[in-house]
């Protein structure tokens, strides 16, 4: 047979395996296992370092977030306060303006009323004068005589008094 028995001791295979193993161990330790294991260790260290860093960064960010939250709450309170104050101020200002406007308006009304009164007086005065003229004319025409100056004035005065009474009754 060309085949060797399964349990045939073959010195070449045995010694060659020993040699191959030793050679592989020596060469691969230097060229392959060393660099690969070192790279794996480095990567492990890097990952561990990164995780620590991330943990630290997370704690830091949580702290900052909490700080910001507090600041935000404080700002909100401040804003609320300022708004309230502003509103009170605005209310007051509005009331003041309203009051001033009202005063202004009433002053204007008062002035208008005074003017009106004066106009009325003037109108009455002028009416009085016109009435005297008319009355005198009328009397002259009725009596067809010329009164002396004194009696003239008396008649006019009495007429005015009568007219005053008449107007005061009317007005």
């Amino acid at each position: 047979m060309t085949l060797l028995p399964l349990l045939h001791f073959n010195g070449v295979a045995f010694l060659l395996t020993l040699a191959v193993f030793i050679v592989l161990l020596i060469i691969l330790s230097k060229t392959a296992w060393g660099p690969i294991l070192k790279a794996l260790d480095d990567r492990d260290d890097k990952i561990r370092g990164d995780l620590d860093e991330a943990e630290k960064a997370r704690a830091e960010s949580e702290r900052v977030l909490e700080q910001h939250r507090q600041e935000l709450a404080k700002l909100k309170a401040d804003i609320h306060k300022i708004r309230e104050e502003t509103r009170a101020l605005a209310d007051q200002e509005r009331d003041n303006l309203l009051l001033a406007a009202r005063e202004e308006a009433s002053k204007h009304i008062e002035m208008a009323r005074t003017d009106l009164e004066r106009e009325r007086r003037q109108a009455i005065e002028s009416l009085k004068a016109t009435a005297v003229e008319v009355g005198i004319g009328l009397a002259r025409k009725l009596l067809q005589r010329e009164l002396d100056a004194k009696s003239h004035r008396d008649i006019v005065a009495s007429s005015i008094t009568e007219l005053d009474q008449l107007y005061s009754k009317a007005g």
Binding site: F14, T17, L18, F21
Partner: protein
Amino acid sequence: MSSNPVDHVKDIPYFAISENYSILFPKISGSGHEASVEWAGEPLHIFGSPAYFTVQTFSLLVVSALLLMGAIRAAGAVRLRPERGRGLGVRIFESLVQFIRDDVCRPNLGPHGRHYVPVLLTFFFLILFSNLWGLIPLVFTATATANINVTGALAVTILFLLFFLGMKEQGVSHFWKNLVPHGLPLLILPLMYPLEFIGPFAKCFALCIRLFANMVAGHVVIASLLALGFSADGSLGFGVVPAFLMSVAISCLEVFVAVLQAYIFTLLASIFLGAFIHPEH
């Protein structure tokens, strides 16, 4: 084609070296069952047995060369930031290295066992590559680990490492003192010493036989299933299709077994080594 599936895993001599160190080639006469081989001279005997350079020996060299190239290439591609330029092979290689380091060496050898990771890596990858190489269905791809001389040499290496590293780590006197458990009655010691001394030999013998038998068995099963496709007169029969499908299925299983056996060999080696380096465990 031999009708015996076991022949499939038997080693075939390529050449031998004669007693006066000249290369001898076999002269094969006849074919099939009648084939016989004659050597032009007497092959060199090592430990009383004729030594041949064989197919499986050749496979061992090929596999070693492949491992050497693959591992060096992988080492060149492993980077701290591995985003670019890393192929699937390198990633698998890297993961296996990490697996052996973290899940085989670290629990069994402890943090001090870091120095021995390269040894176990060499065992693991040499066995893994040999097992897988034998599964490639080509004429020149034999399974080196289906040769008891190869597995025996690996086991002898481990036996040597057990004693050598055990004595190196513990010191010679501590090593021999710790060989047996502490606190035994003196009367039992003469019984325990031979038993504990045989222990590592038995363990390594088991390692050798386990790997060898697993590899042989897998290939015998595949060869048997393939043989089912042939009729009694050697022509292809109707059974060739199911025989082929079944052998493909078993081949897939064998890929798993190839990885598993490499893992088991390495795991057991690290457990034995751990026990000899740290006797308290």
